[in-house]
């Protein structure tokens, strides 16, 4: 719960969090080393100075760190913890669903654990989706189209094997498909982060919600165009939001574009923990106003009502969270973690 300076309680769903192991012991090769270093550079590049972590902690943090940063020191009521396997880079995977489910087990009310699959695995991917549903009752999955798999350096949502997987998701009621479409990190000739495949997949799977993480940045215009056409396409703010600290005017331009094109109902807060922690993000977001000239040009405002939607109400709708019931359940399930 985030309490505003005016004393109002705001329900917060953190749409994008991780519990990873990027430690040297788990790195399989140079790619694993470089991958976590790239994340660490995002962390050091965009965090306020007083929020910086030591590298060794960033590589592998504890379950207690996560509970504290998200729910005790942090304002999250519910965290959606995403799975990203990267088994070509990490011996035990980067953050597998087993690892995520384990951390969620202690406070089940607090977590939504999402799965992940790789359509390039063919039949095995379909079996795995069944396994995810039966074992973890997942409501959503995270798709990482730039993940390497053997000789393949990426895939598209419109690949025939991917369509078979989405048909199965639809049938099993796995409705929320989070797609990482963000900063270019692993492109070769094929740009695996191009957003246009979302357009087709969202048209063809109207029952599914397509949450484009990082709003497709640096392809914001393409993303806005698609999300305006497709009623079932949403934008996750992870990575865009930290700019609120280092480049507030730039963040104003991004959020103004999003509000103008896709509107306040389809934007979701996400910290991308542990790249960033949610407390400072939410505090700064609540205090933020779009610079006047930008707001006037686009004819949009970031009102308290809109902020509340972005911070929690929109995600609660997608994941069928009954907010009043959830507040009661959380009140009766206090934390006990190791003292610092």
């Amino acid at each position: 719960m985030f309490r505003t300076p005016e004393g109002k309680d705001i329900f917060v769903v953190d749409g994008h969090t991780h519990f990873w192991d990027g430690s040297p012991e788990n790195q399989k090769n140079i790619h694993g080393k470089q991958f976590i270093e790239c994340f660490y550079a995002y962390h050091t590049g965009l965090s306020p100075k007083d929020q910086l972590w030591e590298k060794s902690k960033f590589e592998k943090y504890s379950a207690d760190d996560l509970y504290r940063d998200l729910f005790i020191d942090g304002p999250d009521d519910v965290a959606i913890v995403q799975s990203t396997y990267l088994k070509d880079f990490y011996k035990n995977g980067f953050n597998t669903i087993e690892r995520n489910a384990e951390v969620a087990k202690r406070y089940p009310q607090r977590f939504i654990v999402n799965g992940a699959f790789d359509p390039r695995d063919g039949e095995k991917a379909l079996e795995y989706i069944h396994f995810l549903k039966e074992t973890y009752d997942v409501k959503g999955v995270k798709m990482y189209t730039a993940e390497w798999n053997g000789a393949s350096k990426g895939w598209k949502l419109t690949d025939p094997d991917a369509y078979k997987c989405f048909e199965l998701c639809d049938k099993l009621g796995i409705r929320n498909i989070h797609v990482h479409k963000g900063p270019t990190i692993i492109p070769l000739s094929k740009d695996a982060f191009d957003v246009h495949d979302v357009d087709h997949a969202a048209t063809d799977f109207q029952n599914l919600n397509w949450i484009v993480e990082h709003c497709g940045l640096p392809r914001l215009d393409d993303f806005c165009w698609i999300a305006t056409q497709e009623t079932n396409v949403y934008g996750g703010l992870a990575v865009a939001l930290p700019f609120i600290h280092s480049r507030p005017r730039y963040f104003g331009e991004v959020i103004a574009e999003l509000l103008f094109w896709i509107g306040p109902e389809k934007i979701l807060f996400g910290s991308d923990y542990a790249i960033w922690t949610p407390r400072w993000l939410v505090e700064k977001f609540w205090a933020y106003q779009i610079p006047e000239d930008i707001a006037a040009e686009r004819g949009v405002q970031l009102t308290d009502e809109i902020k509340e939607k972005i911070l929690g109400l929109n995600a609660a709708r997608l994941y069928n969270i009954d907010i009043e019931a959830k507040k009661k359940a959380l009140a009766s399930s206090p934390f006990s973690i190791a003292a610092e």
Binding site: Q34, E37, C38, Y40, A41, Y42, T44, G45, L46, K49, D50, L52, W53, E54, K55, P183, T184, I185, I186, P187, L188, S189, L217, P218, R219, L220, D221, C224, F243, S246, R247, Y250, E253, V254, E257, E297, R298
Partner: protein, 265 residues
């Protein structure tokens, strides 16, 4: 003395030439982005360049375009030196450096790595983005000065050239937009309007606000990359300085490193 001054002026010329090379994706000079880690003129006049991008993952195509730009800049040096360019810590650094040592052209090296990507088309896309980003900055600068949209859009090159700006983005981009305009439309006449679309169409005053919105979209994407690259690059450099037992990156960023004590002896 004469030798020292020759080597000093060669070094200046070298950095000036390198400063003309832009990161194609960001439209900012590679020297300002800090990608040129070292540029030396040795005693026999040959040139040594160490080049390092913000991440191991930076697109090989972009790396190619920059290295190709560096090569062209070095070919223009007045004393025609032999040169060595080394790419560091990139996923394809080994392939690139080995290829260069074997005397292959960048084109040959990257043709093997870039598969079917058409670099000419990529270059053209980046030229278009640079044109739009520079144009937007100048247009917004002129609006801020209180010029009407009609006055701005009727401006020709002689009028453009005498327009002055306070230091800032518009002032920085004014000569760069001029260069992009002349490169794009080499046959334009001096009294043609300065502000036209990438396709050479005139912009009606009533359409300027909408047009600026479109240009802003282009800039938002470029700035996102630029800001991330800067952050990543900064981090990477500081990490390189870490020595066992010495303060780490985080210590420096968090200002936890105490000022050096005065020598006691």
């Amino acid at each position: 003395m004469a030798t020292a001054s020759v080597s000093g002026s060669r070094k200046n010329e070298l950095w000036r030439c390198l400063g003309e090379v832009n990161d194609p994706e960001l439209d900012e000079p590679i020297t300002e982005m800090g990608f040129v880690e070292r540029a030396e003129v040795t005693s026999d006049g040959s040139v040594d360049i160490d080049f390092r991008l913000p991440t191991y993952w930076c697109s090989p195509n972009f790396a190619f375009l920059m290295l190709d730009g560096v090569r062209k800049a070095l070919d223009q040096l007045s004393w025609s030196p032999a040169y060595r360019v080394k790419l560091h810590d990139h996923m394809f650094a080994e392939e690139v450096n080995r290829g260069m040592e074997a005397g292959k052209t960048f084109g040959d090296i990257f043709a093997e790595l870039a598969e079917d990507q058409d670099l000419g088309a990529l270059r053209e896309t980046f030229r278009m983005k640079a044109f739009k980003r520079r144009q937007e900055a100048v247009l917004r600068g002129l609006r801020q000065q209180g010029l009407t949209d009609r006055e701005i859009l009727e401006m020709d090159l002689p009028v453009y050239d005498v327009a002055g700006f306070e230091p800032g983005e518009a002032a920085k981009q004014k000569p760069r937009y001029r260069a992009a305009l002349l490169e794009r439309f080499p046959d334009r006449r001096a009294y043609d309007p300065v502000f036209v679309t990438w396709d050479g169409e005139r912009i009606p005053p009533t359409a300027l606000t909408g047009y600026l919105g479109e240009l802003r979209g282009v800039r938002i994407n470029m700035e996102f990359n630029g800001a991330l690259c800067r952050g990543l690059k900064q981090t990477r450099y500081k990490e390189l300085d870490v020595v066992d037992g010495e303060p780490t990156l985080v210590d420096f960023i968090m200002d936890r490193v105490p000022a050096r004590a005065a020598p006691t002896a």
